[in-house]
C-alpha cells in the first residue's frame, strides 16, 4: 500500500506544525490508504453479522436431554420446554420475581395491620438434581432471604406495586417496597423467646413500616410513597423463601413456614374473611418453587408456608438474555480487525521509513503520536458505536422473535452499550497504536492485543469462575464490563458469574481499567518516541 496525499501540499504557513495541521495530515494518511478504510468497514460489518449469528444461535425451545416418559413440554420433570416461562415486570419496568403465599383482606382508605411473627422455619429441597423438586425430599434449613410479614399491594397480579414489613432468615427485620427498595430494622432471627412484631400503616399514598421486639415500643423503619395507589388495596400476611445457591450453581428451591398471632387490622376492612393466594407458583412462572404454599388458621393464629421471592429478577433463575448478549462476540471480531489496522497505522510508517518524513515535517514527536491517537480513537469509536447501534436492536429483535426472554432495557441501558462499545474499541485502538510505537514491529503488538481480549473467554471455559473472572478484573479485557447491563442485587443471593451475564466489575470501572492500560502505554510510547532515533 502507498500513502499519498489526496490534496495538493499546503503552502508553508505560520500554523504549520500546529496540532490541527498535524491532525489533518494524519487523517489524510488514514483515509487515503484503501486497506485501512476497508478494514474499518469490515470491522463494523463483521460485528453486525456476528451479532446476527449469535442471536440466531440462541433459542429457548428445545430439549436439554432425553425426554422423560409421560410428560409434556413445560411440565415438571420434563427436559423439553417451549418458549420462555413468564417473568413479571415491576412498576419501574424492571424484571422482578413475585412468587409468594398471601392471606389478604381488602382495605379501603387508611388503615393499619399489626402482627407478631412467633416462628420462622425453612425447608430446602434435597432430592436428586435431575428430578423436579418436591416436598417429599427436603431437609430443614432456613435461607437468609426467607421472608415473613405484612404486605400491602394494589393487586395480586404479579409485578404490582407493594410495600412490606417482614422478618427474614438472617437479615433481621426489613421494610421493602417495589422490589428494589430496602431498609433495615431490628437485627437477629425470629426465635421463641424473641418474636418479632411488625406493623404496616397506610395514610393516603404513604406506607410506613414499624417493628418492635415487645409490641409496646415501636420503631419506624421506613416509608414508601406509592403514587397512584387505588383507594381499595389488599393487605395481609405473606411468606416466601428464595432459591438457594449455596453449594449449587443451578440453585435449589426452598420453602419457609411462619406462625403469626396478635393480628389486628384497624381501618375500613371488607370483612374478617381472609383470602389465601399462591402467587406466581404455577409451572408457567419462571421462579422455581418448592411446593405451592399453604395457609392454616386456628383462632387468631395463622400458619403460612410459601416459596418464591419478592425481589428483582436475576440470572440464572430468570434464564434471560440481556440487550448486549448477542453483541459481545461481534465486538471481539471488530476489535481484532481494528487492532490490526491501528497497529499498522504506526508500524507501516516505520517499515517504509515514512516516519522520518513525518518527523521532519513535524519535529514535535509527541504531537504526531497525539494526532494519530485522536484519529484512530475517533474512527474506532464511531465504528464501535455504529456497529452497536445497529447490532443491539437487531439482536433484541431476533431474540424476542425466537421466543427468548430478554431483560427489559431502557434508553439509558442501550446508550451505555452503544457508547461503551465505541469507548472499548477506541481505547483499545489507541493502546495498540502505542504498543506499535513502542515495538515498531506489528507482530508482537497484534498478538498481544488479540491474546489479551480473546484469551480470558477461552481460559474461563477451563476454570469456571476463578481465573477467568480474575482476568476480566485486571487485564484490559475488563473493558468488556461495559456490556454488563444486568445489575447485581444485594437483595438476592444468586450465582453472579460471567456465565450468567454478570461481569466482575461495574461497567465504568471496567472501562477505567482499560483506560489505565491505554494511558500507561501512551505515556511510555511518548517517552520512547522522544528518546529514540526514528
Amino acid at each position: 500500500m502507498t500513502i499519498t496525499s489526496g490534496r495538493p501540499r499546503p503552502t508553508i504557513s505560520p500554523e504549520r506544525g500546529s496540532f490541527w495541521s498535524v491532525l489533518r495530515a494524519e487523517w489524510t494518511k488514514f483515509r487515503t490508504v484503501r486497506g485501512w478504510l476497508i478494514g474499518v468497514v469490515v470491522a463494523a460489518v463483521l460485528c453486525v453479522a456476528f451479532t446476527f449469528v449469535v442471536a440466531n444461535g440462541n433459542h429457548t425451545g428445545g430439549c436439554t436431554g432425553p425426554p422423560s416418559p409421560g410428560s409434556g413440554p413445560n411440565s415438571p420433570g420434563s427436559n423439553c420446554y417451549t418458549g420462555h416461562p413468564f417473568v413479571p415486570t415491576g412498576p419501574d419496568g424492571e424484571a422482578v420475581a413475585d412468587s409468594y403465599q398471601l392471606a389478604e383482606q381488602p382495605l379501603t382508605g387508611d388503615g393499619t395491620l399489626t402482627a407478631r411473627v412467633t416462628a420462622l422455619t425453612g425447608l430446602i429441597s434435597s432430592g436428586p438434581a435431575n428430578v423436579a423438586a418436591s416436598l417429599a425430599h427436603t431437609r430443614s434449613q432456613l435461607v437468609g432471604w426467607a421472608k415473613a410479614g405484612i404486605l400491602l399491594t394494589s393487586s395480586i397480579k404479579q409485578g404490582s406495586p407493594y410495600a412490606a414489613i417482614m422478618a427474614t432468615g438472617s437479615h433481621g427485620t426489613r421494610f421493602q417496597y417495589d422490589y428494589t427498595h430496602d431498609q433495615a430494622g431490628l437485627t437477629g432471627a425470629v426465635t421463641d423467646p424473641s418474636p418479632r412484631w411488625v406493623r404496616l400503616t397506610r395514610t393516603g399514598d404513604t406506607l410506613t413500616g414499624y417493628d418492635s421486639a415487645n409490641g409496646t415500643t415501636w420503631t419506624q423503619i421506613g416509608t414508601a410513597h406509592l403514587v397512584g395507589l387505588p383507594t381499595t388495596v389488599k393487605i395481609g400476611l405473606f411468606v416466601t423463601s428464595p432459591v438457594s445457591f449455596q453449594g449449587s450453581s443451578s440453585g435449589v428451591p426452598t420453602q419457609a413456614t411462619a406462625t403469626f398471632d396478635h393480628i389486628a387490622l384497624n381501618g375500613h376492612a371488607g370483612s374478617n374473611d381472609w383470602q389465601a393466594h399462591s402467587i406466581g407458583t404455577s409451572s408457567n412462572d419462571y421462579y422455581t418453587t418448592l411446593g405451592t404454599g399453604s395457609y392454616h388458621r386456628v383462632g387468631n393464629t395463622f400458619v403460612l408456608s410459601g416459596s418464591g421471592d419478592i425481589a428483582p429478577a436475576v440470572n440464572p433463575l430468570a434464564g434471560g438474555n440481556t440487550a448486549s448478549d448477542s453483541l459481545w462476540f461481534g465486538l471481539i471480531v471488530a476489535l481484532i480487525v481494528l487492532i490490526v489496522v491501528a497497529t499498522m497505522f504506526i508500524t507501516s510508517e516505520y517499515r517504509r521509513g515514512l516516519i522520518r518524513t513525518t518527523f521532519t515535517a513535524t519535529p514535535q514527536r509527541g504531537r504526531v503520536l497525539a494526532a494519530k491517537a485522536v484519529v484512530i480513537g475517533a474512527i474506532a469509536f464511531v465504528t464501535g458505536a455504529i456497529a452497536a447501534a445497529v447490532g443491539v436492536p437487531l439482536g433484541l429483535h431476533i431474540l424476542n422473535t425466537g421466543g427468548n426472554y430478554v431483560f427489559p432495557a431502557n434508553a439509558v441501558t442501550k446508550l451505555q452499550i452503544i457508547a461503551g462499545s465505541g469507548a472499548l474499541l477506541a481505547l483499545t485502538a489507541v493502546a495498540v497504536l502505542a504498543l506499535g510505537t513502542i515495538l515498531r514491529t506489528s507482530a508482537i503488538a497484534i498478538t498481544t492485543g488479540i491474546i489479551v481480549f480473546v484469551l480470558p473467554y477461552i481460559i474461563s471455559t477451563y476454570t469456571p469462575g476463578s481465573l477467568g473472572a480474575w482476568l476480566f478484573r485486571v487485564t484490559p479485557a475488563a473493558g468488556f464490563s461495559v456490556l454488563g447491563v444486568l445489575p447485581r442485587s444485594a437483595l438476592v443471593n444468586s450465582a453472579y458469574t460471567m456465565g450468567n451475564d454478570y461481569y466482575p466489575l461495574a461497567p465504568w470501572a471496567g472501562l477505567g481499567v482499560l483506560c489505565t492500560y491505554t494511558a500507561v502505554a501512551l505515556g511510555f510510547a511518548t517517552l520512547l518516541l522522544r528518546r529514540r532515533d526514528a
Partner: protein, 255 residues
C-alpha cells in the same frame, strides 16, 4: 533441496527474534499452565487433570503462529524474498524448505513446552485436589491417554505452525496474517460458547483449535464433540489446505 533447507535454516537461525520467540513460546506455555493449575480447585466438577496441565498450549500456540508467519512475511517486508527466489527458483521447493524448518523448530519447542506442562501438572495439580484421594490419577506420561494427549499437543503445535506459514505465504503482510490466523484459531471456540447446539457442536468439530485440541482429552471422551485423533486429522486438513493455497499463490503471483 538440501541447499534450500540449509539456507532456510541459516536464515531462521540467525534472526535475532527467533531465539526470543522460541524461549517465549516455552515460557508462556508452561507459565499459563502453571497459573491455570494454581487457580483451579477440584470443586469444579468433571476435571481432566491432563487437559488442565496442557492449558498453556492455548497461549503458546500464538507465539508459534508469530514465529511461522515471520519466517515468510519478514522476507516480503525487506524484499529478501526476491533474493531467495533468485537463489531457489523452484518456488515450491523454497516453501517446502521453509515448512520443514518451521516444523522442525516448532517440534523442538513443543516437546520442551509440553514436557514442562506435564511436569507442572504433576507438581501443582495434586495440591489443588487432583490426587488419588479425590479419585484422580496423577498426571503421568506412562499412561496411554496422557501419552496421547502429550504427543498430540506436540503435533498440534507443529500443525499450527504449518497452518500459519501457509496463511502468511498467501497474505504476505505480517500484521494481517497474524491477525487472520489468531482470529481463525481463537474466535470459533468463543463463538461456540455463544450459540447453542447443534451449531455449537458443528463449530467445535470443524474449527482448527477446538478440533485439534480434542486430542488433549483423557476423560469422558464420549462427551467430546470429536474423537482425539479425528480432531487432529481435521487440523491436519486445515494445515494442508493452507499450505496448498499458499503454495499455489506463491507459484502464480509475482514476488
Amino acid at each position: 533441496m538440501t541447499e534450500a533447507l540449509r539456507a532456510e535454516w541459516t536464515k531462521l537461525r540467525t534472526l535475532t527474534g527467533t531465539a526470543w520467540l522460541l524461549v517465549g513460546a516455552v515460557a508462556l506455555t508452561v507459565g499459563v499452565s502453571a497459573a491455570v493449575a494454581a487457580a483451579t480447585h477440584q470443586s469444579a466438577p468433571g476435571g481432566d487433570p491432563t487437559k488442565l496441565a496442557l492449558a498453556g498450549v492455548d497461549l503458546g500456540q500464538a507465539v508459534v503462529v508469530v514465529l511461522a508467519v515471520l519466517a515468510i512475511s519478514e522476507e516480503y517486508t525487506t524484499g529478501m524474498i526476491r533474493v531467495s527466489l533468485s537463489a531457489v527458483p523452484r518456488r515450491l521447493v523454497l516453501l517446502a524448505a521453509k515448512a520443514a524448518n518451521v516444523a522442525g523448530l516448532t517440534l523442538a519447542v513443543a516437546i520442551l513446552a509440553v514436557a514442562g506442562c506435564l511436569l507442572v501438572g504433576r507438581l501443582i495439580l495434586p495440591g489443588a485436589g487432583f490426587d488419588p484421594a479425590h479419585g484422580y490419577t496423577l498426571v503421568s506420561i506412562t499412561k496411554s491417554p496422557t501419552l496421547r494427549a502429550a504427543a498430540g499437543s506436540v503435533l498440534y503445535l507443529v500443525l499450527i505452525g504449518l497452518l500459519a506459514l501457509g496463511v502468511a505465504t498467501a497474505i504476505r503482510d505480517a500484521a494481517v496474517s497474524i491477525g487472520s490466523v489468531l482470529a481463525l484459531l481463537y474466535l470459533p471456540p468463543i463463538l461456540a460458547q455463544a450459540v447453542s447446539d447443534p451449531l455449537r457442536r458443528h463449530l467445535q468439530q470443524i474449527a482448527p483449535m477446538s478440533a485439534g485440541l480434542a486430542v488433549q482429552a483423557t476423560t469422558s471422551l464420549r462427551s467430546q464433540p470429536i474423537a482425539p485423533w479425528a480432531g487432529l486429522g481435521v487440523l491436519t486438513g486445515w494445515a494442508i489446505a493452507s499450505l496448498l493455497t499458499g503454495g499455489a499463490l506463491l507459484r502464480l503471483r509475482d514476488a
